[in-house]
Structure formats: C-alpha cells, structure tokens
Symmetry: C2
Subunit: 660 residues, 2 copies
C-alpha cells in the first residue's frame, strides 16, 4: 500500500473505509488474481483492438485521433472513453495490491495519450472532439460527457493512490476546472447535470483525496440541481427540438424519472428509472450527506435504501426488474424470468451500501453488500474471467431465451466479455478494490463488514496495529482475527452478525465470550477492550442450509422458496435434476445434506434434499383433469454464482415449496 | 334465411356447415342481439368518423376520396379498407338472422361507394389509389392488398347470401379477375402471395358460392406458392432495398417464418409467426384439402392442428404467447402474464377448427372451438358491446400493466372498441354468424358440434326437417332436440360428447338410450334411426366443477391448476378474494359449491371452495427464513369471460394447487 502523501479530507470524516487493507483470502484471492492476471491484460488488448475475435473497441484509437496522432473515424458508443477510464481505475487498484512495472508502464503510456487528447481549455472527450466538435454540453441527457469525466476522475484518483503519479490527476483537475466554467448557478452557466450520474461520486473522491472544497461543492451542485424546476433535461430536450442522440426521431415526451430527475433528490422516496444511474446517484447522495451532515439528504438516502432493498431487490442482490431501459419498475415487481438485474446495477448497489455504512454503522447495509457480491456480481463472471452475464436471471429456460422475444435479453450462457464493454470492467474494478469493502472505521471502532481474509494496517490510539483476518467463508463459518501490535491499545472491534446467520460464537484468546444484548449495536457485536499483540478472536458463524421466503407481495415468488446457505443463494439446474426444473417441489421441513460438488470449481458445496417432481400421466392432451403424479426425487442445488458452468440448461432459484 | 338461388359448389362437398340454422339461445342470443343492436350501428358511426370520443377511422372517407367524391388525405392503416369490409360482412350475417330495411339501405349505400372506388381495370384499394398510386403490388409483404380484397370478398359473399344482391359480389369478382391478371405462374405474372393470409379462405368462399373453379384454383395458387424457393417475400424485400412499409429503415433480414413463408405449406409442422396470419392460412389449407382431397395438405393441417392445440394453446383457447409480432413462440411456452392471446387469433382458431370438422368429424375440433368461443373470444367483449380486450391475459396485476413495460400490452380493463379496429368487428362477424358453427353435415349425418339453442331447417332423404335445439349451457347441462318433419325419414344425429363432460345421458322420446361403445365415433354419439315429427332427444351433460392441470412441460403452470365448470374456465379476482390472488392456494381434493353470482351479469354461476392464502408474518424484511403462514379462506372463482366487470383488480386463472 502506498500512503497518501498529504493530509486527506478523509481524515476529517467521522467514518472512513480504511485503505490499508490487503485481501488475502482463499476464496476471493482467486478472483482478484484473475482480474490482475487475465482480465486487465485481456481488456488492454481489447481496448487496443487486438483481442482475437473481439469487435474493435476503438477506445484507444479514439484518443489517438483526438490527440492528433492518428486519423480516422470515431468508433463506438458516445461513452466509449469510459472504457479506458475503467481500465485505468482497475489498474490503479491492482497496483495498490501489487506493483507491476510493466503494467504501470502501459498505464503511463495510456495516460500520456489521454493527456494529449485534452484541449487547451481543459476539455476532454474524444466523441465531441472527433465527431461533434462545437456540440459540447448540448445534450447532457444522452451524451455522457460528465459521466466519462467522472470515470476518468475515479481512474486518476485510484492511479494516484497506487503510484503517487499525478499526471492523470492533473489532467482531470484541469477538466474539472473547465467544467466549473460551464456549470453553475451564475448567469451564463448551465444549471444542469448529466443524464447518467457518475461525476457526483467521482468529485467526492477527488475532494477526499485533495481536501479541496470546490470539488465537493461541484458535486453538491450537480446533486442539488437534479430534478429542480424548471427541469434542465426537459428544457435541453426542447432546445434539441425533442430529438435524442440515441433516437433521432421527435419524441412525445422526456421521461425525467428515467434519469432520476423527476423531482429534487431530497424529495425522492422510490427508486425509479435506469437502475445503474439511480444507485450511482444514491451513492453520491450518501457521500454528500455524510460529508456535509445534511440530515434531509440522509433521510432521502434511507428512504431510497429502504425502497430498493425492501421492495425492489432480488434475493441475489440484483436490481432492475425490466430490460426496457434497464430499469426499476415498482414495489414487489420482481419477475424471475423477464428480469434484468444488470451486473453494473448490483455493483452500484454495493457502492451505495458502502456509503450507507459510512453514514451509519448498521449491519443491514453490509448484509446487502454481501448478498449482491456473493450472488449477483460473482455469478456474472465465468471462472475464466472472459465470459460474463449482463443480465442475471433467477429463472432460465434456454429455449425461451432463444424463442420468446420477451426474453431475448436473458442469456442462458455467459457471453464473451468484450461483447459489451460496460459490465466486465466494472466487475474488474470492484474485485480489484474489494479491500475497501471489508472494514469501515468510525473513531476507534473498526467495523468488520465482510468476513474476507485480509490484512489491515492502521493506527489506534497512536499505536500501529495490524489485523490479520482469515475466513473460511462462504463454505464454512470459521473466521479468525489475529492482532499484531507493538504495545497494548484500546479500540472496539465490531463484528457483524450476518442476517443469514442463526448463531455465532466468539472466543478471545481461546475463551468463549458470553454475548450480552448490550454488546449488540446496529447488528454488530462490539468487542471493546485493550488489545495487545498476539490477541486472537475466533468466530464461528453457524452456516445452515435454509429455505428463504419472499414477502407474499412479491407475486412471482408466491408459494415458493429459495435455498440459501450462509451468504450464498442456491439454485437448481437441469444438469443435476433433469429437464423442467419448474416441476420440482421442495418440502419445507426436509433436511439438507451437503457434499462437495466435484464437477464445480473451487471447493464448492452442493446441497441435497428429499423433494418431489410433478410428472404428467402419459396423454397427449395439453390440459387434463388428472393431477400430475408426484415422484420423490433427491434434489440437488448448487451455488447460484456457479450456475451455467456445465453446459446450457434450465436453472431456477425459486422452487415451489410445501409444508408437508 | 335466404336460400341460395343457384346450385352451389357446397352441394358437391362431402361435408358442409348447414346455413339454414338460426340461433335462438338464452345465453347466446343476448350476444347476437348486442351485435345487431349495438355493435353494428355503433361501428357504422365510427367508420363515418361520427362516434363521439372516438378517433376518426377515415375508412369511409378514404373510399369517398378514392371514388373522387371528396378530397383529402388518406387516413389510417394500410389495411383500413378491411374495416369497411368486416362491417359489411357482419351486416350480411345479421341480415341473414333478421332483415332490417334501414340497415340494408345503409349497407347498399356503402356498397355503392365501394363500387365507385373501383378502378376501370377492377383494382380496388383506397390506400394505393390515394396515397401510393403506381405502387400497386410492390409490397405484398406488408401492405395487405390481397388481405383487404379477401375481407371484401367475404363481405360480398355474406351480403349476397343474405340479400341476393350481387353488386358487391360483382365488384369483387372483377377485382379477383384483375388479381388473376397479376398473379400466377405464367411469364410476366407475380409468383407471390400476401404477407397476411386471408384472401385464400375468401376465395374458397367465393368458389363455394359460385361453383366457379378458377376461384378455388387461385386460392390453391396462393397457398401452394407460399414458402417456395426462391422465396417471393425475400425477393420482393430485396427489390425494395430491404426496407419495409412499417419500418422504413434498412433491415438485416426478412423473417419469412413470421409470414408462414419459411417453407412450403405441406412441409410445415409447427405453428410459427404472427398467430392470426397462421390460423387464417391453416383455415384455407383445410378448406383446400377438403375440396381437392389433397392428402398431403390434410396431413399438414393435422400436424399444425396438433402443434397448436397440444403445445401452444392456453386453457382459454388463446393462442400467441408473445406480443412481439403478436406471435407464436415455441412448444409449451405459455406465460400467463406476458401473454398475447389476441382475440382475432382465437377467432381464427375457431375458423380452423370448423374447417377441420368439415375435413373429418372429430369432436376434439369442436372442443377447441367451444373452448375458444366461451372463454377467450367471449371474454374479450364487455357486456355493453363497446369495450374490448385485444390481449386476453390469464394473469393480471394491474400495476404491472401500468408500470412494467414488458406488460404494457396487457390491459387490466377492456378498452373502447374503436381504439383499434381489428378485433371488435371480428367478434361481431363471428357472433353474427354463430349459426354456422352449431352443426356440420356429412351425407345423412348431422353432427351437433355446439350445444347452442337454434333451429335448423334442412332436408334428409328428400324430406324437409326442422330440428329445434334448446340448451341450458353453459350454466346447466340440459339439451333438447325436437324434430319436426312431415314424414318419417332416416338420418343420424351425431351428438358430441364434450371433452370436459364426465358423463352424459341421452333419452329419445323419454326413453333412456343405453350407450354402447360402437355408438361412439370420433367423440360423437351416433343416433341413427328413422325420425318422425314430434321426436325429442333429451341430453343431460354432467357439468361438474373440476380442477384442470396443464402438461408439466408448460413451465408457467407447474404446481398449478385452473378451475373449469363445463365449457367455462374460471378465474379468481381480487374483488372476491382480496389483493394478491397469487397467494391463494387450492386443495386438489376440495369440493366446490356453486351459487348465483348476483353481481355478475346474465345468470352467472360463481363457484367456491375451501382454499388457503399465504400470509407473511409482520416483518419489514423482503426475504425471511420463516415460511408464510396459511390462512384458510373460502375462495371464489367466477367465469373467466366475465372477469374485469367489477372494477380494476387482480385476476388469475392458474392457482397453486396442493394434494393435501
């Protein structure tokens, strides 16, 4: 870890996410290694249009053209620059884990190129440089200019934190200065904001790194202007004669709710519109609420959190019920088959959860973070790191994905990651920065949010302390914290009691801690004492395979149950259970047995239970008065995140469950 | 009834649908009266742009402009002419039931206008006359020219049969002569066919009326050319530079299967593409197979029938599983919520069933006809005759229809019928011609396909016979046939044993007929004897409320049952059962009680049973390990065709069912 060489704004905050954490975990390190060894190098090739079989990205070439180093046409989406940014950000996190001179050299070259594409006035965006010069800032609704800037700011911060090199940081500071000349409440400036939120949370990162208030103020401006009347997006749309970038036809209406701009953010209570945009906004709102102590904004964050996680979230941590606009629909509408549950949206939910944890130490935020991480996000990536789901369904009938157009967006197999450039690098940057999600710190209390093997280096009461966590999650519940410290120092270790955990024992230095209710605060077990080197805390989290039921207002899950074991949601696949997994039924009181899943990677555990299968009597009638018979079967379920690893087949998370 | 004043081709056929039938039924006459008294007059106003609150149809005005009697722009769809045609056809059937000089005068005036819009060469189509003159026959794929001609032929035949007036008939004969100069295998003619099948079945009607073989030959040409290689639609699309009428952009591909033109019709085995087009084609194929004795074509009809009714038909007789292209998807894919099940498609299925009955007397064809009629079709129309469903869902959550874009096509309430002009007049013409579906006749056997109160006048062995059927269906199973005849004559009365009927007793002149297996043929009970005036046959069909189960391959209905009583499918609505009808559960062995549904129209019977409802424990968690509790409830189900008559609410046909 590089230390940050100047006084960071972070040190003034009540709660922070410690950066001096290094993941070293039997389960997770495989994924972070995969990101470093496979995903980042492969994506580099893809960005340079050299990945075999991949469609040309054009992203690097666009920068070359914009920098005057090459000639040609702009290639790709209007937000193509963000692919370069996300790659650089992932590189930043990766270099924080482990320096790599060769990777750093490639990143430096790319940063030189990005810098060369910057205009003298600070402006940076290859689309508007190459394709629509003179049209800067005329279509904030669709054109992602501030979004691309936001991603490049995140990259600049991460790269600086990793290497101490400030070239990209200075490029982006100049770009932000330029943005400050364009946007603002002053006469002649645009009182606007981006159609796709992102710059808001990026500016907070820039503020936290530099301590310069103007970055926080600009973030606050974008957040506060959103949804105010007169509506900026609608006025802009009128100026464009009601035509869009993606749809050049005249449109009947502009749906401001799609952009979370239908009302001021402090008045919002329901998650609406494009799911990724929404959670990126909420993340920044929680940041701003924390940093400014804005109680009204904090209340809005809590309401939105509640709405998302209590009424619009799948059991896998997926959000976004419809592919139409990749969007939220409405409370309790969680269809399992026509679902969207985009990978990026779950990643955004993790960002939001982390910021809520910083706002207030409540274990439920970490519960959701863990749910999204182990299930929706992890399930999106194949074990080879080169194939991804963008849509993460809870129910798949492969033929329906092919033959029913309402399910064409659902894929029965992970796709080559370069097919669409948005989710794969998002997974990469999340996994490469997993160390930032393990703990939060508030004063002298260290909250263990994720039980992920790791080493933390921090200081308590002026004493440097190293805490080595080791964890057997998700397969078993043993977790151990070993403390190294030169001398005794007092701090609280707050151990999250996971929502899925029916029982937890804690021992300090081999002595069982008798847990009393007053030790529980916000779902954490508080261990406050004077710690010394050699102290060890051992936790045993009971991991039980259980059925989980949705609130009955979720129509799609009525009379059904999902199987969960520890943090992992399970699913039934046809490769284990035969075709028509929907015909399987669970008995509510049946016991589960566990066994190693030898045909699945990574020491996975499969579970089995006595169940039944409905079988139609032989008849060629589609509808009959004879009920299907029940055959007793032994049902096998495997971790959801590993589904689709054994060929194309049916899968379901929710299964009909009966009490007898 | 008007007799047909010349020797009809029908008399040469093995089987016919007797035209001398008049419906007089306690249940159905209300609907046929509604069509005559409300729907036809109202639609007349709508076609003349005089229906209050309705969008201008433009249909009549288009004819005025085409006839040079008015000036202006073409209004409406490219197939707008067909609305006038369907109205005239419905009028024809209605006048067959009961003459009405005022209605006839209005029809005559409209026919004069249609005639005035005909070109000297016989061509008739207002779109290509007004809007794209010179573009005739250049886009058969999209532009419905032959489709519109087909509907006008059907109108001409029906109007002639009712009134003996041949003006429209002669107009359409001239149009067909013109079509004959354009299409054919000869050099210089188009070897093509319409993107929307319809003219094929219409030409058969024209042939049957006139006995002129060339009409049947032209129908055969269109049927036989379909799907041949080189593919006409694809070549035409190439000539149009891959642009369509509805989508002017260049398209990647033309999906010939959408038009059932992916392979020659005799090689087709699976129902594909637009559902209405498909069943209109199959109807004509069955016609042609019957009239020509084409065994290969007959086999194709049987395969397609089997595919539709054994794998792609909802329990309500709805077909078309997706709104994308209003189309079939694939075997056993019958989602209840994202369903299409267009009213017109079920009507087309009834046409197909009737033609299959003429091809071979098998009661299952009538079973499907009855299923579609009493459920999907009847349910589509409100009791006021002015509101309709185009999409006929089996599961409705009104908020999802509003807030989940994947269900926007599903409406929770019937819409004003003039909103879209395709389904309402189709219902009108079907109900007005219901008399044609009651019986089929093959030699001296009269098959009673539908138990609908009616009077049949026909001749057996040269003796005029009148058979008065009275029926208490669908509410009770008493059916009576009274025979009037001047003298004794021998014929067989074949009584259909409905698929839903667990038991049936028959008495002739008060004496119970002992049924023997050899009296059963193709699902009909054959009563062959010498009948005399005053003979009476009394049937008692056991009507029992039963649960019906789908084949387990229908994933959407696994672990579920529907409630059926006689021919009627039932459903549970929230107005009777409270919100979240999906949380209700049926007990497979529970008895049903019946009661008059005083809040529903027309003497409807509601059924009740002991059931349960899943109730979530009070908790604000979306997912919990505690199973919902079960509350015993008395579940009320009402006939599906009457759903949505008591305000906006939830509805479901399929309910979870358990054996205990």
């Amino acid at each position: 870890m590089n230390s940050i060489p100047h006084r960071s704004a972070a040190s003034r905050e009540a709660a922070v996410s410690p950066t001096g954490v290094k993941v070293n975990d039997e389960f997770w390190s495989g994924y972070t290694d995969l990101v470093r060894n496979v995903v980042i190098p492969y994506q580099y090739e893809a960005l340079h249009d050299r990945a075999p079989g991949a469609e040309p990205s054009g992203a690097v070439q666009n920068f070359r053209i914009a920098a005057g180093q090459a000639e040609g046409e702009y290639v790709g989406w209007v937000f193509q620059d963000s692919d370069v940014a996300k790659w650089l950000e992932a590189v930043g996190y990766s270099l924080q884990i482990e320096r790599d001179p060769d990777l750093e050299r490639r990143a430096d070259e790319l940063i030189d190129l990005v810098a060369a594409a910057q205009h003298p006035d600070g402006y940076l965006n290859t689309y508007f440089t190459i394709k629509e010069p003179g049209k800067r800032w005329t279509n904030l609704t669709d054109c992602h200019e501030l979004y691309c800037a936001g991603h490049m700011i995140e990259a600049a911060v991460a790269y600086y934190e990793a290497t101490g090199k400030d070239k990209l940081l200075n490029v982006m500071k100049r770009m932000v200065d330029h943005i400050g000349t364009v946007f603002g409440r002053e006469e002649g400036k645009l009182r606007g904001y981006d159609g796709h939120e992102e710059i808001e949370l990026a500016l907070v990162k820039l503020y936290r790194l530099t301590g310069e208030d103007r970055y926080l103020k600009l973030a606050a401006f974008f957040i506060n202007e959103r949804g105010q009347e007169p509506n900026f997006l609608r006025e802009e749309w009128e100026r464009r004669k009601r035509r869009g970038h993606f749809n050049p036809n005249v449109q009947d209406r502009l749906d401001a709710a799609y952009f979370q701009a239908h009302k001021p953010v402090r008045e919002q209570s329901e998650a609406v519109g494009h799911a990724v945009r929404a959670v990126y906004l909420y993340t920044a709102m929680a940041d701003l609420a924390r940093l400014t102590g804005d109680a009204e904004l904090e209340a809005a964050c809590r309401r939105l959190w509640y709405n998302v996680t209590r009424t619009q979230m799948y059991v896998t941590g997926g959000i976004g019920s419809t592919h139409h606009g990749e969007a939220f629909t409405f409370d309790y509408d969680l269809p399992n088959d026509t679902i969207y549950a985009e990978t990026c949206a779950s990643i955004g939910l993790i960002f939001f959860a982390q910021r809520m944890l910083l706002l207030e130490p409540e274990a439920e935020y970490a519960d959701v973070m863990e749910r999204a991480l182990y299930n929706n996000v992890l399930g999106s990536m194949a074990q080879d790191g080169k194939h991804y789901f963008y849509v993460n369904p809870l129910e798949v009938w492969p033929q329906a994905c092919s033959c029913n157009p309402g399910k064409h967006h659902v894929k029965a197999e992970r796709q080559a990651w370069f097919g669409c450039a948005c989710c794969p690098p998002n997974v990469a940057r999340l996994l490469a920065s997993l160390n930032r999600y393990v703990y939060t710190r508030r004063g002298d209390t260290l909250y263990a949010n994720l039980y992920v093997g790791s080493e933390l280096s921090d200081e308590f009461g002026g004493v440097p302390v190293r805490i080595t966590q080791s964890s057997e999650l998700p397969w078993s519940g043993s977790v151990r914290f070993a403390i190294e410290s030169e001398r005794e120092t007092t701090f609280s270790l707050a151990l999250r009691v996971p929502g899925w955990c029916p029982g937890m024992t804690v021992a300090v230095n081999g002595e069982r801690v008798i847990l009393s209710p007053d030790q529980m605060q916000g779902g954490y077990l508080m261990l406050k004492r004077s710690w010394r080197g050699g102290d060890a805390i051992e936790i045993d989290l009971t991991i039980r395979t259980s059925l989980v039921y949705a609130d009955v207002r979720v129509r799609a899950d009525n009379h059904k149950a999902a199987i969960q074991r520890g943090p992992l949601v399970y699913c039934a696949e046809s490769v284990d259970n035969g075709e028509i997994v929907a015909a399987l039924g669970l008995r509510q009181n049946a016991a589960f047995s566990e066994r190693p899943a030898s045909d699945l990677p990574g020491g996975a555990i499969a579970v089995e239970t006595e169940a039944w299968r409905s079988v139609s009597e032989t008849s060629d009638l589609l509808y009959r008065t004879e009920a299907p018979t029940r055959e007793n079967v032994r049902l096998t379920a495997v971790p959801y995140f590993l589904w689709g690893n054994r060929g194309r087949g049916e899968m379901t998370v929710w299964l009909t469950a009966q009490s007898e």
